[in-house]
Structure formats: structure tokens, C-alpha cells
């Protein structure tokens, strides 16, 4: 199947004016600005197939937002090419924007002073959605997001969770083929987060919606995304299914052993003790060198074990490894 989004060698160069220190410095930089060029995005390539939910993650300042802005056509790349649904957003921004839905967790596109439904009516006219399609979409959206409870409330009186649901509906009204979500669950309580994740999954399943999600909430990633694109310093550092990224980046597992009484010789040739706290000992071992079963049987022969547990590395460890390592 043809890709919905195709990004090849994307580069975005920023010019940053260096500010001098103190009065003399600022005078100097006012008269002779020193400019340095920084690559915010430095050669990113990826392609996304229809119906994928992709987590686009990276530390702050890694170039995530810049990429999203270029994909939606509100920034022009310095070089490289972008195709969204086969169209370049730089050549025909309006055509591309009509196929996109965009939601920012920290911003709203709803009208502050008016009731929620009013914003939807306006968007219907802006995107020129005909009445029948609109009613149909509203029925589905209203049902999944439970909009009917607050559709007549002015937006400024909505809770953050309600506002977020309103924003999601606003982004989906014109049945876009791609949805960009920028930290959609930021600041929400567990219940609201859950509702929003459910909604994304539902839309993906029902309509084959392609979703690109940037977030720092790794629960979002774990529950929603089948694939991750990890960026750092403007480059793609990992791209693949979540499991394989975790396996590749964090080959270690942990065995936590609780002893009955203190012992002297705790060591094991295939594992390293990384922490010890009273009677509790943490062993770190590599899957390829020794299996958990072997390690447990070895240790139980020489140590009086009361309790034990094996910890799989999770997405958080993997992501931390990425942010630190590159």
C-alpha cells in the first residue's frame, strides 16, 4: 500500500542570533548581530502507511514539533521532500490541511466565549462539510467522546478533560485521513487519559485513521502505538516496533531476590549485583548469556531465598537509554 506520509532527508536550518553579555555585549549584538546556523531537523526520513499509529518521540528540543510543523505545511523545510497523501504541503498547503486533523494538548482551536457546539458549526463551514456528513460524524464523535453532556457549555467553563475531548472532535469533524496529536494527554487525570486513548483506538479501527502522536507520556505510547520513531538531535535514532526497540536498547533484565537471613557470598558469574538493601538483592543479567531459570536455580542452591521476582525492562528504560546514549 502506498504511504500516507513520506518524508525524505528532511532538513530544517534555523538562524539563531547570539546575544552578547552585559550592556556592552547587547549593544554589540544589536549593531553586529552574530548569527549561527543550527539544524533543528537534520536529515530525517520515514514513511508511514495508512492505518498506522506511530509514536514520534524524543526529548525536548529534539526536533519533533518542527517536523510536525513541516508536515502540516506551516513551516518550509530547508531541504528534503515531504508528501502527505501524495501532495507536498509546501506546494499546496490548503489541500493538505484539509486532509489533516491537528490537536495540541496545550492549545485549543475552540472559541473561548461561545458554546462548544458553535465552534463545531463554524468548522463545518470552514471545511465545507455537508450537513448530512456532519450530522453523521457528530453522531459518532458525540457517542465516543460523550460530547452531549457539555456541547451547550461555553468553552471557557469546560474542564481540561472536556476541552480536550472537544478539541479532538473539532479535529475529526471533516473526516481527515491523518491525525496529528501533540501531547494530547498532558495534564489530564487517569480517567480522561483513558477516554482519549480509547477514542484514538476506536477511530483507528473504525475509519482506518492514521495517527502520529508526539508525547512524553510513555503509557500513551505503550497503549496506542505499534511503531515508534525516536528522534534526538534532529536525527532519527530508532524506527521500528516497540518490542524490538526495547529488546535492542535494553538487553538487561533484573532479578530481585529477598533472602531469609544475611549471607556473605552473593555473587554469580553471569549476573552483576547492582543494588543491595538489607535482605533484598538486585541482580542484572543479559538474556543471551543466562536465562532467568538458570540463574534462579543456581542462586537457590547456595542462598536461602524467601521471595523473588523478575523484572522485564519497560519502555521507560528503553527511552531513557536512547536519550542518554546518543
Amino acid at each position: 500500500m502506498e504511504a500516507v506520509i513520506e518524508v525524505i532527508d528532511l532538513v530544517k536550518e534555523y538562524t539563531i542570533a547570539k546575544k552578547g553579555r552585559g550592556l556592552r555585549g547587547s549593544l554589540k549584538s544589536l549593531l553586529f548581530p552574530q548569527k549561527t546556523k543550527v539544524n533543528g531537523v537534520d536529515g530525517i526520513s520515514f514513511s508511514i502507511a495508512p492505518g498506522e499509529i506511530v509514536g514520534y518521540i524524543g526529548p525536548n528540543g529534539a526536533g519533533k514539533s518542527t517536523t510536525i510543523k513541516m508536515l502540516t505545511g506551516i513551516l518550509h523545510p530547508t531541504s528534503g521532500s515531504i508528501k502527505v497523501c501524495g501532495i507536498s504541503p509546501q506546494a499546496d498547503r490548503k489541500a493538505v490541511v484539509g486532509k489533516l486533523g491537528v490537536v495540541f494538548g496545550q492549545r485549543t482551536q475552540l472559541y473561548w466565549d461561545l458554546r462548544l457546539g458553535e465552534s463545531f458549526e463554524l468548522l463545518r463551514r470552514i471545511y465545507q462539510v455537508d450537513k448530512a456528513t456532519y450530522e453523521e460524524n457528530m453522531a459518532v464523535l458525540g457517542d465516543v467522546l460523550k460530547l452531549n453532556d457539555f456541547i451547550d457549555t461555553p468553552v471557557r467553563q469546560l474542564s481540561l478533560g472536556q476541552r480536550m475531548r472537544g478539541d479532538l472532535a473539532a479535529a475529526m469533524l471533516h473526516s481527515p485521513s491523518v491525525l496529528f496529536l501533540d501531547e494530547p494527554t498532558i495534564g489530564l487525570d487517569a480517567d480522561a487519559k483513558h477516554a482519549i486513548r480509547d477514542f484514538i483506538k476506536e477511530m483507528n479501527r473504525k475509519m482506518g485513521l492514521t495517527v502520529i502522536l508526539t508525547t512524553h507520556d510513555l503509557d500513551d505510547v505503550e497503549q496506542l502505538c505499534s511503531r515508534l520513531v525516536v528522534v534526538n538531535h534532529g536525527k532519527v535514532v530508532e524506527d521500528g516496533p516497540i518490542d524490538s526497540i526495547i529488546g535492542k536498547l535494553t538487553p538487561h533484565r533484573l532479578l530481585v531476590v529477598e533472602l531469609e537471613r544475611p549471607c556473605d557470598d552473593l555473587s554469580h558469574p553471569a549476573a552483576t549485583i547492582i543494588k543491595q538493601e538489607g535482605l533484598k538483592v538486585w541482580y542484572q543479567f543479559e538474556k543471551v548469556r543466562v536465562t532467568a531459570a538458570e540463574l534462579i536455580s543456581d542462586l537457590s542452591q547456595k542462598l536461602p531465598i524467601q521471595d523473588l521476582s523478575v523484572k522485564e525492562p519497560d519502555i521507560e528504560d528503553a527511552i531513557r537509554a536512547v536519550y542518554k546514549g546518543y
Binding site: Y14, T15, T66, K69, T72, I74, L75, H76, K94, A95, V97, G98, L100, V102, F104, R107, T108, Q109, Y111, D113, L114, E118, E121, L122, R125, I126, Y127, Q128
Partner: protein
């Protein structure tokens, strides 16, 4: 598309009609301004002079009342809208929509103007009629010419405001620029004191500026200070300014958009 603009206008209209206190405050300030100006003219004419530069006291009273009503009606919020949207980063969400931004802002201001007509101009004209009598136009023809001239005035004012708004894209911090522009407009448009009372040199210079064509032209037509032929000529100049400012705005907007898209604002 047109539907969308109309909906924006309608939403603005409804929002403004909902804010009652603001209406009272605005009618109050405008009324005070009106009373003060008219009393000033009355004092100036007390010396027994019948006319000054061929204006009767009644002419100037009418001029003042209408000037204040136009001021209350001509809503040009674009410059502030753009400025706040940029400051709060909200401009980005507007860019995501497949609809021209400036046209949306115009639709918004037209909504503001319509609501101002209902809740500011009507009470002001009633109050003014009670205090000073109904400010009649000098003739039916002058009333007829007054309306299209007002439309052109509004176009000039709006375009000026939008141009100032564009500056916000470049400097991020608009500061007092908007206020400076507003003050220049207020004085040089003849909205407080008609330019006919200004020194010859100022009058000559202001002929080549857009400002006097915003208030003085329609008001002069209304009180019958200019003949039909002159009135049509003045309206042609108004139209010329509208065209010129429109081209300027389009060129500026194109460059601004390009710069924003390339540098990320």
C-alpha cells in the same frame, strides 16, 4: 466559504450582544466625550459670532455627534487580534485551517461593527437627540452620499489596522505602535476637530495622507460642507486609497507569510 465568514460575523455579533456591562461603559464614555466636545463648540461660539469659516454651531454639533458615532461603530480589532494571537501562539491553529486568515479577521470585525450599531449607535443617537436635537443631514442627497462614503472610510481604517497588525509578525512586540497609529488617525482624520480649522500647511499635507478621508470626508458630506461634485471626487480619492492600501496589505501579507513559514516566526 462565504458561509464560514458569515458564521464568524454572526458569532461575533452574538458574543458582543451578550456582554452588557461593556456596552454601558462604552456608551457612557462616548456620551461624555460627545457632551464635552459639543459644549466646547458652544462656548467657542458664545462671543456672538454667527459663523466661523462658514460653519454654524449647528453644523459643528452635528459633525461632532456623528463623528463620535462613527468612532463607536468602526471596529478595527485586527491589529490587536493578530498581536494577541501571535503572543499566545494561537496563530498556528489558524494556519491549520483551509481558509484565508485576514478575511476571517475582517468577518470578525464586521460582526463587531454590526453589534456596535445595535448596542452603541442606537442609544447614542437617542441620547444625542434628547440633548441637542436630532442631527439632521443637510439634504436627502447628502445622506445618500454619506453611506457609501462611510463604507470606504471603514475600508481605509481597517486596512491601516491590518497593516499595523502585520508589523507584529516581524517585531513580536507591538508595544505602543497601535496607540501611536490610533492617535495619528484621531487627530489627522478630523474626528475631534475638523481639519478646516487647522493651519493651511497641515491641510495641504493631509490631502496626501489617507487619514482625512476616514472621518472628515463622510462627515463633510453629511453636513453639506461639500457639493455633490466635490463629494464624488472625495469618494474617488477614498476608493483610490482603499485600492492602494489593499495592494500594500496583500504584498505585505505575502512576504510575512513567507517569512513566517520559512523562519517559524
Amino acid at each position: 466559504m462565504l458561509q464560514a465568514y458569515w458564521y464568524i460575523t454572526k458569532m461575533k455579533l452574538l458574543t458582543n450582544l451578550a456582554y452588557r456591562f461593556e456596552v454601558f461603559a462604552s456608551v457612557g464614555t462616548n456620551l461624555i466625550l460627545m457632551l464635552a466636545s459639543v459644549f466646547l463648540w458652544q462656548t467657542a461660539y458664545k462671543g456672538g459670532v454667527g459663523t466661523v469659516q462658514s460653519f454654524s454651531l449647528q453644523d459643528l454639533t452635528t459633525y461632532t455627534i456623528l463623528s463620535i458615532m462613527l468612532g463607536a461603530m468602526f471596529v478595527c480589532d485586527v491589529q490587536d487580534t493578530i498581536y494577541y494571537k501571535i503572543r499566545e501562539g494561537q496563530i498556528v491553529t489558524d494556519f491549520y485551517r483551509p481558509i484565508p486568515l485576514l478575511a476571517c479577521y475582517l468577518a470578525d470585525d464586521i460582526g463587531g461593527m454590526l453589534s456596535a450599531m445595535a448596542n452603541r449607535v442606537v442609544p447614542l443617537i437617542l441620547l444625542a437627540s434628547i440633548f441637542f436635537g436630532i442631527p439632521w443631514p443637510s439634504s436627502a442627497l447628502s445622506l445618500l452620499l454619506f453611506f457609501p462614503s462611510c463604507l470606504l472610510s471603514y475600508a481605509i481604517l481597517w486596512l491601516l489596522s491590518a497593516l499595523v497588525g502585520l508589523v507584529a509578525f516581524w517585531v513580536m512586540e507591538l508595544g505602543n505602535m497601535g496607540m501611536v497609529k490610533d492617535s495619528i488617525v484621531r487627530v489627522l482624520s478630523g474626528s475631534i476637530v475638523p481639519l478646516w480649522f487647522f493651519p493651511e500647511s497641515v491641510q495641504t499635507i493631509s490631502k496626501f495622507l489617507p487619514f482625512q478621508y476616514t472621518y472628515q470626508t463622510p462627515l463633510g458630506i453629511y453636513i453639506g460642507n461639500v457639493g455633490t461634485k466635490e463629494a464624488l471626487g472625495a469618494m474617488a480619492i477614498q476608493a483610490l486609497w482603499v485600492g492602494l492600501l489593499f495592494l500594500l496589505l496583500m504584498a505585505g501579507w505575502k512576504r510575512t507569510k513567507k517569512k513566517t513559514l520559512i523562519q517559524g516566526g
